[in-house]
Amino acid sequence: MKRISWILAGLAMFVLFVLGAFFGHLLPQRLQGVAAGPPEPPQSGKTVDPVLLHARLGLLFVPTGSTVEPPITKDQAIAKALQVSPGLATATSASYQLGYLSDPGAIIESQNGETVDPSVANPVLVWVIIFDGIHNVSSGPPELAQHGVSNETNVSINANTGDYIGEFIYR
């Protein structure tokens, strides 16, 4: 009789553990669901590193002063970024910066008469949203012993039109 009691108690503990694991699994989803609209990651104070960005990808980023107020707000820019890339909602934190983004090489190609995408043919006032905690792995050739990794994704949104321009990853 005592043995059966122990077995029943063990079973009860197992059921309680499984129930706990089930609710624990649901918990983060429920917390996310509480927020209205796409969940925004908490803010960090991270900024773009213009020197490294130019050294790695050739892009120029010139931050504007805080007095500039573009038609598109940073909240609208963040919402647009999350709308295009819902996976960015898993970022551990996010920050934003307003500035002019340009691709000097593309501007030269445009001046040389090449057909150039308008979003890179001239400097564009953009919101750069820096999403931290987004795991990226490099592509590259099959022989690569160690693939590059990055835990940050930057999204640029046209601050005048709200258009999604694209992502850049450089550190």
Binding site: L16, G20, G24, V137, S139, S150, G166, E167, Y170
Partner: protein, 232 residues
């Protein structure tokens, strides 16, 4: 009920709650490639890549063309990428930058469209230029890429998830075609299929099969990656 038993029950439930809330740890991705490369000195590569929207449960799948130094870590590539949480493939361009990722992406590839993906040195040898259908989508200074002439032209599919689809089906194959390389500004040649070497990485379930159809001199190149391979 015994006081200690109650405590044990509560503790067990909390332990389960904690266990369940843990995020699954992602395994080290396996990089699987399938495609072809040619050891030809070049200053640019390009090819048409057909549309596909593969199922990507984890990691990422890509199709691309690449000019690189033969596998030593310097490259310039362009194509599409679909990460597990992307609704559809998006355009991407990437260069090698050591321990980090140096990548730019743009909008989604429009449904069911074929595009000419091209990356090449500009005429003054100052920039590598990414183009889609001839339109400049971005550049990267030669100093950043670390390459001028490159030793190899590659046309491949890649995935970090062997459960993911890499390419099309047998009846509807993914095609990378009119595979070409540049030797001088504005001068392009299609790769002679005799010079193609198949890329099949160890451990991959994917196998590229090729056919060479049409085109001038029969140099147009058709490729096909198998889908849902998991059992190699």
């Amino acid at each position: 009920m015994n006081k200690y038993l109650k405590l044990l029950a509560v503790g067990t439930f909390i332990a389960g709650l904690f266990f369940g809330s843990l995020s699954p740890v992602s395994a080290t991705p396996q990089f699987s490639f399938a495609g072809y490369h040619a050891n030809v000195s070049n200053r640019g590569v390009r090819a048409n890549i057909d549309y596909i929207n593969p199922n990507v449960p984890t990691g990422q799948s890509l199709e691309w063309v690449m000019a690189d130094d033969g596998g030593y870590g310097k490259w310039a590539q362009i194509g599409w990428i679909k990460r597990y949480n992307d609704p559809a493939p998006i355009y991407f361009g990437e260069i090698g930058c050591g321990a980090n990722v140096c990548r730019r992406t743009a909008e989604q590839v429009p449904y069911n469209t074929t595009h000419l993906y091209q990356v090449n040195l500009n005429s003054t040898n100052e920039y590598w230029v990414w183009r889609i259908d001839g339109e400049v989508r971005g550049t990267s200074p030669v100093g950043d890429v670390g390459l001028t002439q490159t030793a190899r032209a590659s046309y491949e599919g890649e995935t970090t998830d062997t459960m993911a689809q890499l390419g099309g089906t047998f009846n509807s194959p993914l095609r990378i075609w009119v595979t070409s390389y540049s030797t001088a500004p504005g001068v392009w040649y299609q790769v002679n299929p005799v010079n193609f070497m198949r890329t099949t990485t160890s451990g991959t379930c994917y196998r590229a099969t090729s056919g060479f159809t049409g085109g001038s001199g029969g140099y147009s190149f058709v490729d096909n990656w198998t889908v849902t391979p998991p059992q190699c």
